[in-house]
């Protein structure tokens, strides 16, 4: 059983830790990325995503813990693992004075296992795949950020891959570029390649991924299928009313705990999690109306991933570093 589970993991880490000085950038994480999944690695800036990815790829050594990628321990098997892994780490980086095509030829010739016979064909196919054929001969310093990002993905696609590791592939892109990259990732996922994509934006992950791990301050605070994580959130009711205090009083009387935030007050809303109470929406509205609360809107909201994410990682300036 445990053997089977191991075999079906594209990435697996055990108590993986990286310490910089006295600071644990990655603190004992156990990642489990199922083969064939589109796995979101979600966490605010500075939560340790890139550091983890560098360890997965053997760029830095772990302070302690174990890493298995495609069933083999890293970094010991780096030479047999990396040819099957395409990677984008901490943004694209190129020789600005070379063309896009020359850059890919350079990086492909660095691959000690890549054949030089079909190099140019593979380079052209990768450029085609990301829609950069027209700019192949253009110097990279004349590329837009979105084009560089796509060239970075083309580099990850120079060979057929079992696993793609994409670190913040939409970072810094405009909405158009973001959509392009997202569509690209989707089409890659549809070929069955396992994709491990990191982001600090929930929306990104929510739209792309089947699975997610949430990082906060170097630790994984939640991991699993997206639907399962969503279910862990709470169903809430939202009452739109000018009579905020009266509405809150009614809800308290019903055994609920209304949340008052500045934001909600400005919007003239009262929000309360349903917890485990079996109250029906219509009962609540009836109680409100009976208490002469003017109800201009009422909704029962399914748990949102965003609330779950915020409750796990903190919000805005509260983000744990």
């Amino acid at each position: 059983m445990s053997e089977l589970a191991q075999d079906s993991l594209a990435i697996e880490t055990r108590s993986l830790t990286k310490q910089f000085g006295s600071h644990k950038a990655v603190n004992s994480i156990d990642l489990a990325v199922p083969t064939g999944s589109v796995f979101g690695f979600l966490g605010p800036n500075g939560s340790g995503k890139t550091t983890t990815i560098r360890m997965l790829l053997g760029l830095i050594s772990a302070t302690s813990g174990e890493v298995r990628v495609l069933g083999q321990t890293m970094p010991q098997n780096l030479n047999s693992v990396l040819p099957k892994v395409g990677a984008l780490v901490e943004g694209p980086a190129f020789y600005g004075y070379l063309s896009g095509e020359a850059n890919l030829i350079r990086l492909d010739s660095a691959d000690q296992f890549a054949s030089s016979k079909d190099r140019i064909e593979r380079v052209r196919a990768a450029l085609e795949r990301v829609g950069l054929s027209h700019a192949a001969k253009k110097k990279v310093h004349a590329y837009s950020l979105g084009m560089k990002q796509r060239l970075g993905i083309a580099n990850a696609l120079l060979q057929p891959r079992d696993l793609l590791i994409l670190d913040e592939p939409t970072n810094g892109l405009d909405p158009q570029g973001t959509r392009e990259v997202r569509n690209l990732v989707r089409s890659l996922a549809s070929t069955g390649t396992t994709i491990f994509v990191s982001s600090h934006l929930l929306a990104e992950i929510e739209q792309l991924c089947s699975h997610v791990a949430v990082m906060s301050a170097g630790q994984i605070v939640a991991q699993g299928k997206i639907e399962d994580l969503r279910k862990e959130g709470e169903t809430r009711i939202r009452v739109s009313t000018p009579d905020l205090d009266a509405a809150s009083a009614v809800l308290v009387a019903l055994g609920l705990e209304p949340i008052t935030t500045m934001d909600a007050q400005l919007r003239q809303e009262v929000v309360a999690p349903l917890h485990d109470s079996k109250l029906e929406g219509d009962k609540i509205v009836a109680a409100l109306v009976k208490a002469k609360v003017r109800v201009s809107g009422f909704a029962v909201e399914e748990p949102s991933l965003e609330d779950r994410f915020v409750s796990l990682t903190g919000e805005g300036f509260d983000v744990v570093q």
């Binding site: 030479n79 000690q112 079992d162």
Partner: protein
């Protein structure tokens, strides 16, 4: 049984000839490389023009060695220029190229993509050293060729009178010019190895370059302090001017041999240091 359905990871090419080819094409497609080779070519050109324009006749032995002979025979321009270039200018260009090897890739972020290719860290070091060595040979050849051309253009050319008083033919003197270029190139390989090592220590290429120039300068200063004469034979720069002995008849090759040994020593020591440093380094760039 991971889904290894692709045929990669079969043939390994440890020699990395195509990597070396792109290394050279990356280097020689940079404007900076041309600018440096151009500047190297200017050394004999300035020197020849200065000598040509000054009416003053130099007494034998005045100025840099051979300078007094340039007016009689243009083939001496290259030799004189080499003597002028070797203390500072040639080491400076070597510092730029060897300091850039690893730190340059790190600084612009391409190092992480080379390593995840996967390039193999030792293989990358070897190719980088081979690239830097190629530049060294290109620089000394550029200087010699430029010297021969400008010398032939501005001065008479004929059989060359050597330091020993013997006379050799023009073709043979060109052969000696090539030998001198080879000697100086070998002289600078040790510095390239030091540069490769220093380049693995930082992600800031300019810092590496400055450090390498410092090493070259300190070596030359130590070499003129008589109190340190015990260590002189082992200094990086000790044999740098020794190519003069190639201009005697019969050729004195003892300095050539000593130079090769010292440079090989530096390559072995600093190559190993670069290897042990780079293969265990955390790549955070």
């Amino acid at each position: 049984m991971s889904s290894s359905n692709n045929p990669v990871a079969k043939i390994k090419r440890p020699l990395g000839l195509s990597l070396l080819a792109t290394e050279l094409s990356v280097m020689f497609r940079r404007r900076r490389t041309y600018a440096m080779l151009g500047a190297v070519a200017l050394i004999p050109i300035f020197l020849a023009i200065a000598v040509r324009l000054s009416s003053q006749v130099l007494a034998p032995g005045e100025g840099p060695p051979f300078l007094d002979r340039v007016t009689q025979n243009g083939l001496f321009v290259g030799f004189t220029a080499m003597i002028v270039g070797i203390p500072l200018f040639l080491p400076l260009t070597i510092a730029v190229v060897s300091g850039d090897t690893i730190a340059g890739e790190a600084g612009q972020g391409t190092l992480r993509y080379l390593l995840t290719a996967p390039v193999g860290r030792a293989r990358l070091l070897l190719v980088k050293f081979a690239g830097a060595a190629t530049f060294v040979f290109a620089a000394t050849l550029t200087l010699m060729i430029s010297g021969a051309l400008i010398g032939a253009a501005l001065f008479p050319v004929g059989p060359v009178t050597l330091l020993s008083g013997d006379v050799i033919s023009v073709p043979e003197s060109l052969l000696r010019a090539l030998l001198v270029a080879a000697y100086v190139s070998i002289s600078l390989l040790g510095l390239s190895a030091v540069g490769l090592f220093i380049s693995t220590l930082t992600d800031v290429p300019v810092g590496a370059m400055a450090a390498i120039v410092t090493v070259s300068t300190v070596s030359q200063i130590l070499d003129i302090l008589p109190q340190l004469s015990v260590i002189h034979p082992w200094l990086l720069s000790h044999n740098w001017l020794g190519f003069v002995s190639l201009l005697r008849q019969p050729m004195d090759l003892s300095s050539f041999g000593a130079n090769v040994l010292v440079q090989l020593g530096y390559i072995a020591v600093f190559g190993s240091l670069a290897y042990s440093r780079f293969t265990t380094k955390d790549i955070l760039s």
